[in-house]
């Protein structure tokens, strides 16, 4: 199983990972917004034949309320056929490491449906996330979300706490999706730019 950076031509297969687990059907610009703005943060997991079987779509919070630089996991999915291999954890760790190294993120956040007990348990017990808040009616269908956080301070020294299996599908959808689909065609890219005026 290989983990590598997501590329634009992975989009179709990334969306396919959602087919059997997430109810979301993202627009192309949504993937590209993440992939081009923070290309260091999104990863795909490939099987032995190179087919995409899981992905993590992540970003840096653009305007954090608490003024603390932090990352956000927008979407994470692993195909049912490739569960219980620890892929979700590996994807999350790679993304978190990049958040820390490239953007000096202090923590990473995510949202999860309050009904998704399995995912909640995975975040809490396997990935070191803690519930920081409950956001009422966060999802389009009116369900509440747990806002969760995982500290990344010192993460680069101890990136992988354990090698336990992922117990479940991770089912995360960010409210920022709604903001993203409203974005006009211009995509913001904030990295590695050398412009002399």
């Amino acid at each position: 199983m290989n983990i590598r950076h997501a590329r634009p031509d992975d989009l179709m297969n990334m969306q396919h990972c959602n087919l059997q687990c997430l109810p979301e059907n993202y627009q192309m610009k949504y993937y590209l917004y993440h992939g081009l703005s923070w290309p260091q943060l999104s990863y795909v997991a490939c099987d032995s034949d190179g087919r995409v079987v899981g992905y993590v779509l992540a970003k840096m919070e653009e305007d954090p309320d608490d003024q603390v630089p932090h990352g956000h996991i927008t979407s994470l999915a692993v195909k049912r056929s490739h569960r219980r291999l620890g892929l979700a954890r590996k994807l999350m760790d790679q993304s978190a490491r990049a958040m820390r190294e490239c953007f000096n993120a202090k923590y990473v956040s995510l949202h999860v449906r309050v009904s998704n007990r399995a995912a909640l348990s995975l975040y809490k017990h396997n990935l070191g996330f803690e519930v920081s808040d409950i956001e009422a009616k966060y999802y389009g269908d009116g369900e509440d979300a747990f806002a969760m956080r995982r500290s990344l301070v010192g993460f680069e020294n101890d990136p992988s706490a354990n090698e336990e299996e992922d117990k479940d599908l991770l089912n995360i959808v960010s409210r920022n999706y709604l903001d993203c689909v409203l974005l006009k065609t211009v995509i913001i890219v904030k990295f590695r730019i050398n412009v002399y005026i």
Partner: protein
């Protein structure tokens, strides 16, 4: 007072530290990893003042830069370094430079507000706000007021054009906007607004034109030249991009312009293979070599561009030197394992297997899960070592040591199986024992079966039985009574693996038909698993699902062998009765419903599955191939519109991503996005829907007795042909889990997917060429005189169409009758009623009109007679068909027969449009020459009459078909289906065509 402002957008501590260190000549600062923390923690912006007289060394001043800091003459700033971390308001730049010379990420808005608080801006502010908020109608009214008051205010007129365009008043908008292309004296804000406007109107070449004019007036304007560069990017003119970029580099020697130029040359190489190796790539390399000598590479993207060029030139030796040198260090932070992975690839290309082995082992030890490197390592060892046996032993020992260190990792175990398979002749360990070992450790993982399948594919019957027995021995399960789950998920997962392997390896399908044991036993397993795992999480695959799917597959096998549709009926019932929600089940039902022609059920499931956006490309085929041919025309049109909208918007958007990638120097992304764009443009789904939609439009838009000449047929680009060889197959034909062993099962003995793709391409080519020729013909006759060029184009397209038919005949022999196999392409049905000859005849009839009205009446008579005969013969074949299948349990629509009828109605509709062309031409002839008028009208009347008779007979045939099976609707007993009368829309269409034919004045 002038400033040199360097703006850096960097993300890593080391790259910021390196750059700043270079800038200040290594004086005074020690930037470490902590340095970046300091910067982003304390400062929003820092600026460095090397000439600050109050300090004896360069310093960093904390705090946000204010307008006063920069503008104050007392500061005596010569150079200003702004480190731009993440979130800084952009007003500081406006203050310092007066305008954004470059894209500022914090203030991206469309349309761009002109900077500065000028009189013009104040006047336009409200108008901008109205447009930005989507209040187009008030915006138009407000613009009119402004134009009346300030006639010289060009921006107001352009904004009015934008508002009109966004209100869908396209003609009015174009009338206002297009003349600006010829204006010579446009302000910067007018140019910006026109860019936005032309982009929305898809007139990107006009953007080039306006900026070319502007640059002609101010050839040394950096801003205008950079805008001109982007305009060339939009239209993909790489030569002009190169010229402008290097001109920009001359007038403002900034690094990005240099790389824009190099990238533009590289792109010419990509699209001109002839000159790539001799001209373009060496030119790129020379320029980059020079930069390398000057040690002037700063960012990872720049180095990556260098590597891309070297890869294209296959100069892997230089590429390896770069990765091993100081430039390799720049890349280290860019992507995890980028450098080592590239080193492995380059050495592999150079056949330096010893280096590959060393690097792979080094990488695997650090990343035990990188399975692709296991494969590379095994191949490299095999190639390098002549003593295969000792090489095998070494690798086995290596994988075993990895296994001991990482007992929970699958890859060392998988590596051993791959090794044994690769070293077949020299393998000392039987593959079956390695598979067994893998099964004991990881047989409960859902991916076990998928991984193992290619390795056991070539197992003989004896090996298969030996493997299955050895796997079964490891479990305590009663194979006679099928009991013993004991709510143990790991155990049930292992059963899944064994059952799947058994279904794959053991070819007992023929015997299963006689005995229903398999179905009964597995049905017991389904209910046992449902009972034992009642609280199973909904988002996981329920343990019972695989058992159910195995049952369904077995029933379908029985159907394939016996052709008894009762098995189909049973399979549908089992799927419908399954109480757990699952995508696999829904997909299975979708495929079965389309197989038996239940369109209403298909639509209902399709909507539940939410196949849209990106999924159109991969899964759209599940509906696109059926709806139209099953007579669900309204839904087909809706579906085609949604698919075309997705593709056209996505293809257009990619251009903006490419522009942004240029702006930010992410060169590797440029090519990746271009690849994505090409892949969307060449998608089978997109091109198929494009041609089918045109055919449907042509058929339906004339059903209200509307003249064919009044149709908007501009959607098709008549200049371009679909290059059928470029078409890409993105369909996911493996979305349904299947257990058929390619080497054994008859229906999958060929490479079905490839065959299906070839069929699709042949069908697409034929349909596209026909519709293109047909539309050219209509455009040709819209004018009073026949344009020779257009006629030439028509003739060559008609010839290509005839050639494409030959290919279609070759493909027609390939067929697949499995409900879960690749979707149908209706060759047989098409050829059965001679649709090919009918279509050919239509085009030949048009071709005769080159010298209209002086045509050979005899020849025309021949064409009309041939047409009548072809239609009559086609209908007589249809008359002998049964539209409905009937048996003791269920009545299905006979899909192939129904599709044949649909294709007949299609050509029937097209022929009535051909008749209309003649009716219109005759009406023109009436006023000019009377020579052939009466004879032609007589012939035309005859053929229209014949068509009308056939239409009426088709309606009566549909009615009779239903009466014969004494069913108004399809009926599936025991199944929960809300059946749809498949013939309804077909009847409507025929009736409308009859009215259309009757409206001709003959």
């Amino acid at each position: 007072m002038s400033y040199t402002v360097l703006t850096l957008f960097l993300q890593t501590a080391s790259s910021i530290a390196n750059t700043i260190r270079e800038m200040i000549g290594g004086n005074g600062f020690q930037f470490s990893s902590a340095g970046i923390v300091l910067i982003s923690d304390f400062l929003q912006v820092e600026f460095w003042r090397p000439a600050d007289k109050s300090l004896d060394r360069p310093c960093i001043i904390s705090g946000k830069i204010s307008k006063n800091d920069i503008a104050s003459p007392n500061n005596e700033l010569n150079d200003l370094l702004i480190v731009y971390p993440l979130d800084i308001p952009c007003d500081v730049f406006i203050a310092s430079t007066g305008t954004h010379l470059f894209f500022c990420p914090s203030c991206v808005k469309e349309p761009v507000m002109p900077p500065g608080d000028t009189v013009t801006e104040r006047r336009l502010r409200k108008l901008y706000e109205l447009i930005d908020n989507g209040n187009n109608k008030p915006a138009i009214q407000h613009a009119d007021k402004l134009i009346k008051k300030f006639p010289e205010l060009i921006e107001a007129r352009i904004l009015k054009g934008i508002a009109l365009w966004r209100s869908k008043r396209h003609d009015e908008a174009e009338k206002i906007i297009l003349p600006f292309s010829f204006e010579d004296d446009l302000s910067e804000s007018a140019l910006n607004l026109l860019t936005v406007c032309f982009r929305e109107m898809h007139h990107c070449s006009e953007i080039v034109r306006i900026y070319q004019k502007a640059v002609k007036k101010c050839p040394n304007s950096e801003e205008l030249n950079s805008q001109l560069f982007m305009a060339h990017v939009r239209v993909g003119n790489y030569v002009e991009q190169q010229n402008v970029a290097f001109h920009l580099y001359k007038i403002a020697p900034n690094r990005p312009y240099f790389f824009w130029g190099v990238m533009s040359v590289y792109l010419q190489a990509k699209f001109n293979k002839k000159l790539a190796m001799t001209l373009y790539l060496p030119l790129c390399k020379r320029k980059l070599d020079k930069l390398k000598e000057e040690k002037n590479f700063v960012s990872a993207e720049e180095v990556q561009l260098y590597l891309i060029v070297l890869e294209e030139m296959q100069d892997f030796i230089t590429a390896i030197d770069i990765l091993n040198g100081p430039m390799g260090k720049i890349l280290e932070d860019s992507e995890v394992n980028f450098v080592i992975q590239k080193l492995i690839d380059y050495n592999n290309n150079l056949h330096k297997y010893d280096a590959v082995i060393k690097l792979c082992k080094q990488h695997i030890v650090k990343n035990v899960e990188s399975f692709s490197n296991y494969k590379t390592l095994i191949s490299a060892c095999y190639e390098l070592n002549e003593d295969k046996e000792s090489s095998f032993d070494d690798l086995l020992a290596f994988f075993q040591s990895l296994q001991r260190q990482h007992p929970r990792s699958l890859c060392p175990c998988m590596g051993k199986i791959h090794l044994a398979n690769h070293y077949k002749l020299f393998c000392k360990v039987p593959l079956t024992s390695l598979v067994k070992e893998f099964f004991i450790q990881f047989g409960d993982k859902p991916c076990f079966y998928n991984f193992i399948r290619p390795y056991i594919n070539c197992f003989s019957d004896t090996e298969s039985k030996e493997l299955l027995n050895s796997l079964k021995e490891t479990l305590t399960f009663s194979w006679e009574t099928f009991s013993g789950f004991q709510k143990d998920l790991k155990l049930v997962s292992k059963y899944h693996s064994i059952f799947q392997i058994e279904s794959f390896l053991v070819d007992d399908r023929n015997s299963v038909v006689e005995s229903s044991d398999f179905v009964d036993n597995y049905s017991i397993l389904v209910s046992t698993a449902i009972n034992e795992f009642q609280d199973y999480p909904k988002i996981e695959t329920h343990p019972s699902e695989i058992f159910l799917l195995l049952v369904v597959h077995r029933l379908l096998d029985s159907y394939i062998i016996t052709k008894d549709s009762n098995y189909l009926h049973k399979a549908i019932c089992r799927l419908q009765q399954y109480s757990i929600s699952s995508t696999q089940i829904q997909f299975s039902l979708l495929r079965l419903y389309s197989f038996i022609g239940l369109t209403k059920q298909c639509i209902s499931i399709y909507e539940k599955l939410e196949i849209k956006q990106l999924l159109f490309d991969t899964l759209g085929y599940t509906m696109v191939n059926y709806m139209q041919h099953l007579g669900s025309f309204q839904f087909a049109r809706k579906l085609y519109d949604a698919i075309l909208k997705f593709f056209t918007i996505s293809i257009r958007e990619t251009t903006e991503y490419i522009i942004n990638a240029y702006r930010y120097g992410t060169f590797n992304k440029i090519f990746e996005i271009m690849t994505l764009k090409t892949s969307l443009m060449h998608s089978l789904c997109y091109n198929k829907v494009l041609s089918e939609k045109l055919i449907l439009d042509l058929i339906f838009d004339t059903d209200k007795s509307q003249s064919i000449f009044a149709l908007n047929l501009s959607e098709i680009n008549l200049e371009d042909d679909i290059d059928i060889e470029e078409i890409e197959d993105h369909r996911d034909l493996e979305v349904l889990t299947c257990w058929y062993r390619p080497s054994l099962a008859d229906w999958s003995s060929r490479d079905l997917h490839l065959d299906s793709f070839l069929n699709e391409k042949a069908w697409l080519n034929c349909r596209f060429l026909f519709i293109k020729a047909f539309i050219i013909a209509i455009q040709m006759f819209t004018k009073k005189t026949i344009d020779k060029n257009l006629f030439q184009k028509f003739s060559s397209t008609a010839i290509s169409f005839n050639n494409s038919l030959e290919n279609l005949h070759r493909c027609s022999n390939v067929s697949n009758n499995h409900p879960f196999g690749p979707p149908m392409v209706p060759f047989k049905e098409f050829l059965y009623i001679s649709s090919d000859e009918i279509m050919s005849n239509m085009l030949e009839t048009f071709k005769m009109l080159e010298n209209w009205p002086n045509i050979s009446l005899e020849a025309l008579y021949g064409k009309f007679t041939a047409s009548s005969e072809l239609f009559t013969s086609a209908f007589s074949k249809i008359e002998n068909m049964n539209l409905f299948e009937s048996n003791s349990v269920s009545s299905f629509l006979n899909v192939p027969n129904f599709v044949t009828l649909e294709l007949f109605v299609e050509v029937f509709s097209l022929q009535s449009s051909v008749c209309e062309v003649f009716v219109v031409l005759l009406s023109r002839l009436d006023s000019n020459s009377k020579s052939n008028f009466c004879d032609i009208r007589k012939e035309l009347f005859q053929i229209c009459q014949n068509l009308k008779n056939l239409g009426a007979s088709t309606l009566s045939f549909l009615d009779k078909s239903r009466q014969m099976v004494k069913l108004q609707y399809l009926k599936l007993e025991d199944c929960n289906v809300d059946v749809h009368d498949a013939t309804h829309e077909l009847e409507n269409l025929i009736s409308k065509k009859l009215a259309y034919l009757s409206s001709f004045n003959l």
